[in-house]
């Protein structure tokens, strides 16, 4: 992984290892071969730097480039693509670019929240939340079509933003024995996820699956959610039988 560009540029990323928003930025930096310093934030005890660099939201990820902060993962992805021109993550053509932005937005605003809800469903809520998630994934599966990646032959912005679907969600789903994203229901997306997780810019920043489960949900989400998740893992959450 070599640093492109003629001068040494200081790139730092303030992140949280579980966060898929942070992972998006790492994948983009890896695609471009940018060397960066990663700083893990304790979100229960945010650093003065984080508060200084992101005063409006006080959230990760924060990219610091030559001392200047950029926040919001999608804004950071656009910045990275405009600053380092090798291995573009967005298409050149304005219409195709608009299309990629549209689908990245769809993943971010429609797919992620729907999948997230299924993880936190009570047994009464599960079927309805699952139905919504299936609907969203179906739209995504149709968009993928016969392509290897949403970006074509190599991963692009949509694939990057969908990293939660490609990796973390499947891991958590399996641990909870949920049946939302299955190979039977979504054969194309399933294959996409396998290819995605095996790409070297992605593989470089994926945590081991058992570490993800052992540390999910993150502590900053609160004791109630953490203990609820742990007890579900023990119960191996099963959706209610249809007859009930």
């Amino acid at each position: 992984m070599s640093s492109r560009g003629s001068k040494m540029e200081e790139v730092k990323l303030f992140g949280y290892w579980v966060s898929p928003f942070c992972r998006s930025v790492e994948i983009a930096l890896n695609i471009k071969g940018i060397q960066y310093e990663y700083i893990e934030e304790d979100l229960t005890n945010k650093s003065p730097q984080l508060l200084q660099y992101n005063p409006v939201y006080k959230k990760i990820p924060v990219l610091l480039h030559n001392g200047k902060p950029i926040v919001e993962s999608m804004v950071i992805l656009e910045y990275i693509d405009e600053t380092w021109k090798n291995n573009p993550i967005l298409p050149e053509d304005p219409f195709e670019k608009a299309r990629a932005r549209f689908w990245a937005n769809f993943v971010d605003q429609k797919c992620f929240p729907a999948l997230w809800k299924t993880i936190w469903s009570t047994s009464e809520q599960y079927e309805q939340n699952k139905a919504e998630a299936l609907e969203r994934l179906k739209v995504l599966e149709n968009e993928l079509g016969g392509k290897r990646f949403f970006g074509g032959d190599s991963i692009g912005m949509v694939d990057i933003v969908a990293n939660f679907i490609g990796f973390s969600f499947r891991t958590i789903q399996e641990a909870l024995k949920l049946d939302v994203f299955t190979e039977d229901n979504f054969p194309k997306l399933w294959e996409w996820a396998e290819n995605f997780a095996n790409c070297s810019p992605v593989k470089k920043c994926l945590p081991p699956q058992d570490k993800l489960i052992a540390n999910f949900p993150p502590a900053y989400m609160g004791k109630t959610l953490v203990s609820s998740f742990q007890s579900r893992l023990q119960l191996q959450f099963h959706p209610p039988a249809a007859a009930k």
Partner: protein, 231 residues
């Protein structure tokens, strides 16, 4: 102005999202055909051009549809290079995108929610809206320019611009007060300057018609919420 090829815009008369696109096209001097859609009775054309959401605005250029207002603004800026909306420098562009997202998600959205909700929910929404306005005011003051984009109207101005002609109506319909001009002098001045631009002010919907529409909509939304609660 090398681009030829038909430009069509599907919109809805009161939609602030469609208005953003109209402003961008007008500022760039791009001729377009406007098609009014009844969003409560969607045409086959709209469903075909925006199959995922079935919403306006949709820009059609050379037969190809682009949807989502902020994405359309980026497209317009990339295709028609005159009167640029975004700055050239990547860092400044990132700042503009950040504040545009903030204007949409925190400023506009919270005002709408404050108008349409009641009781404790309304109080919370008003508080969020005021906090968002405070951040926006701070940033405007920090920049010290006539508009967010500098001396000319830019990306953030266009995205945030809906508050210039709809905020007062939302406040009236929702019986809320957010923009106290003594508390927000920079925003108040910005609104004045923004509406002073002839291309911005031209063709805005009639205030009484907007008032009637927002009154009706906020009642409908309130009753939908009640039926969800009592179900």
């Amino acid at each position: 102005m090398e681009e030829t090829g038909g430009v069509k815009l599907l919109g809805f008369w009161v939609s602030p999202f469609a208005q953003r696109v109209k402003w961008a096209l007008k500022l760039k001097g791009v001729q377009y055909e406007y098609i009014e859609e009844d969003i409560y009775n969607k045409s086959p054309l709209l469903s075909k051009l925006n199959p995922v959401y079935g919403m306006v605005p949709v820009l059609v250029h050379n037969g190809k549809p682009i949807s989502e207002s902020i994405i359309i603004l980026e497209y317009i800026d990339e295709v028609w290079k005159q009167a640029p909306l975004l700055p050239q420098d990547p860092y400044e562009r990132a700042q503009a995108r950040f504040w545009a997202k903030f204007a949409e998600e925190k400023v506009r959205q919270s005002v709408w929610e404050a108008m349409c909700s009641s009781g404790e929910e309304k109080q919370k929404a008003v508080k969020s809206a005021v906090e968002a306005f405070e951040e926006f005011e701070k940033e405007l003051k920090r920049r010290g320019t006539k508009f967010f984009g500098g001396e000319t109207i830019g990306f953030v101005d266009i995205v945030a611009g809906c508050i210039s002609y709809q905020l007062a109506l939302h406040e009236e319909v929702g019986s809320i007060k957010i923009l106290d001009s003594s508390k927000f002098p920079a925003i108040s001045e910005w609104i004045k300057n923004f509406l002073n631009h002839p291309l911005i002010n031209e063709g805005l919907p009639q205030k009484d018609q907007m008032f009637a529409y927002f009154s009706k909509r906020s009642k409908e939304i309130a009753s939908q919420k009640m039926s969800h609660k009592t179900a």
